[in-house]
């Protein structure tokens, strides 16, 4: 193509631009504005910040609980309250211990006096007890967490490492999540008026420590660790025990795994 013909072509193009009528121009501008909106929003935001040297995408946490090892001392529930500054009054707990008493007739009694923090007094009536045992409970950090689904403002969420947390600066205290949790693992903080729950001691995880309840369990009834990777201690626990999760029919996909759990435990 010669130089002249190139120039002619350029002229034709510029003619085409000039021939845009007003309607076409406005239409295209509107489309451009629409396309630019998300871009503008992106510019307004700040980049995310995370704790130094901790990479959440490299972890995926869960917990194993062996009720056959639990002695009902309640040290987990006591330590959790201290570690996480949970209000001292009863009923505000992130983790608690339940005592199940199953009688020969099939009657089931469950109690958890002050979450088990002061321990459990001996059974008053041991006659006719078929079996009795303790079960530690906590937030199950469900993969399909109902509390996350119902939060109207996105204040409760699952981190990339699989921990369900509450954004206490963004929570509006509507209590939807407390209603939605099938495990009763949430409460409204009496002073801050926001939803509160077990965090798996996220502030300890980023330092490479285990949650406080796991640290103080004297019989190692709680196993904490990584769910991804075959040889992790937690996956060994899951592999060598018959595993049950709480309320599996709700399809919440809990990440707290119970070994050899009795069917009466809900």
């Amino acid at each position: 193509m010669s130089r002249e013909s190139k120039i002619t072509e350029q002229h034709e193009r510029s003619d085409a631009v000039q021939q845009l009528d007003r309607r076409q121009f406005l239409n295209e501008m509107a489309a451009a504005c629409g396309a630019a909106t998300p871009l503008l929003c992106a510019f307004v935001r700040l980049p995310a910040t995370q704790a130094d040297a901790y990479e959440p995408t490299e972890h995926y946490y869960g917990m194993g609980v062996d009720p056959a090892k639990c002695i009902g001392c309640g040290r987990c529930a006591a330590a959790c309250k201290i570690e996480n500054d949970v209000p001292a009054e009863p009923h505000f707990v992130n983790t608690w211990v339940e005592r199940y008493v199953i009688r020969a007739g099939g009657d089931v009694e469950v109690d958890s006096p002050n979450a088990g923090i002061e321990g459990f007094s001996p059974l008053e009536n041991e006659q006719g007890v078929l079996k009795t045992f303790f079960v530690p409970k906590l937030c199950n950090h469900c993969d399909e967490a109902p509390c996350v689904q119902v939060c109207p403002v996105g204040a409760t969420f699952m981190t990339q490492d699989g921990v369900v947390l509450v954004d206490d600066q963004y929570c509006i205290g509507c209590r939807y999540c407390i209603q939605a949790c099938p495990y009763g693992a949430r409460y409204l903080h009496p002073e801050e008026h926001v939803a509160a729950k077990c965090t798996f001691c996220y502030h300890r995880l980023v330092e490479g420590l285990v949650p406080a309840c796991v640290e103080v369990c004297p019989t190692e009834a709680r196993v904490f660790g990584e769910l991804e990777g075959l040889p992790t201690p937690l996956n060994r626990f899951i592999r060598f025990n018959t595993i049950q999760v709480l309320k599996p029919h709700l399809n919440t996909k809990p990440k707290v795994f119970y070994a050899n759990l009795d069917g009466e435990v809900r």
């Binding site: 700040l46 995310a48 910040t49 040290r75 459990f120 001996p122 045992f133 204040a155 996220y202 640290e215």
Partner: protein
């Protein structure tokens, strides 16, 4: 072009600009960076101060006690179970000292007899087991030893012993009815005490008209197909 078109467009433009401004004001920073939440929310959770230092920290200074603990029966009981949260002690070791519980009440949180505890977990009846003596007077808490040989049957069978103590059989020693090899004290599960295998054994007391005050029966007429203890629980305080 009709007059209403530019007017409508002006309205739409103003509305979309207002939307963009409102959204940038209302949606918090970092919202949506990772998922449908404020990515910076984890920062405030991470900023929480830990209270429990973790046993690894304790071992840095108290290595000897740690070794002792790991070799003993409390190997799974980390330091802060008994000594409480020690993060303050770690950051200020000279001024903040973690407590060392001396009371029996602390040890019995785990070791008081409770039917719901797993079988085999060492448990005592605090009212029975050297009352008022601090546990640490006999047991080294960092490497506790179980008592070498049980003195009598109640050391392990406390529940039965307490029941029997208030039953009509309170004066009858365990070994009257149970032949107990010494080996049972060492291997309690593989070498077991005996139980009466004949009705005549109970009949020695309960089919003798000369023993006044003891319930008497006619061994040949009273349900001869069964052993006595299949119906009557001999340790139970009741009459049945």
């Amino acid at each position: 072009m009709p007059e209403q078109v530019p007017r409508l467009l002006a309205v739409f433009l103003t509305a979309s600009v207002a939307l963009v401004i409102a959204r940038s004001l209302l949606v918090p920073d970092t919202f949506g960076d990772i998922g449908h939440y404020r990515a910076a929310a984890t920062d405030s959770v991470v900023a929480h101060q830990k209270k429990y230092a973790g046993h690894q920290e304790c071992a840095l200074c108290h290595g000897q006690i740690q070794e002792m603990r790991l070799a003993g029966n409390h190997r799974g009981v980390r330091c802060e179970v008994c000594h409480g949260p020690a993060a303050n002690h770690v950051s200020n070791p000279l001024e903040v000292k973690p407590p060392a519980p001396q009371d029996r009440e602390f040890c019995t949180l785990c070791h008081e007899y409770n039917a719901s505890r797993p079988t085999g977990f060492p448990q005592i009846d605090p009212a029975d087991h050297n009352p008022h003596v601090p546990c640490i007077a006999c047991h080294e808490p960092h490497a506790p030893e179980p008592p070498g040989m049980p003195g009598d049957c109640s050391a392990c069978h406390g529940q039965i012993a307490r029941q029997k103590a208030v039953s009509h059989h309170s004066a009858v020693p365990c070994t009257t009815c149970h032949q107990t090899p010494d080996e049972h004290k060492v291997n309690p599960r593989s070498v077991r005490p005996s139980k009466p295998t004949e009705r005549d054994f109970c009949g020695a007391c309960h089919a003798q008209e000369r023993l006044a005050g003891i319930p008497q029966i006619d061994l040949t007429a009273h349900n001869p197909a069964y052993l006595c203890w299949q119906c009557h629980y001999p340790h139970y305080p009741g009459t049945s």
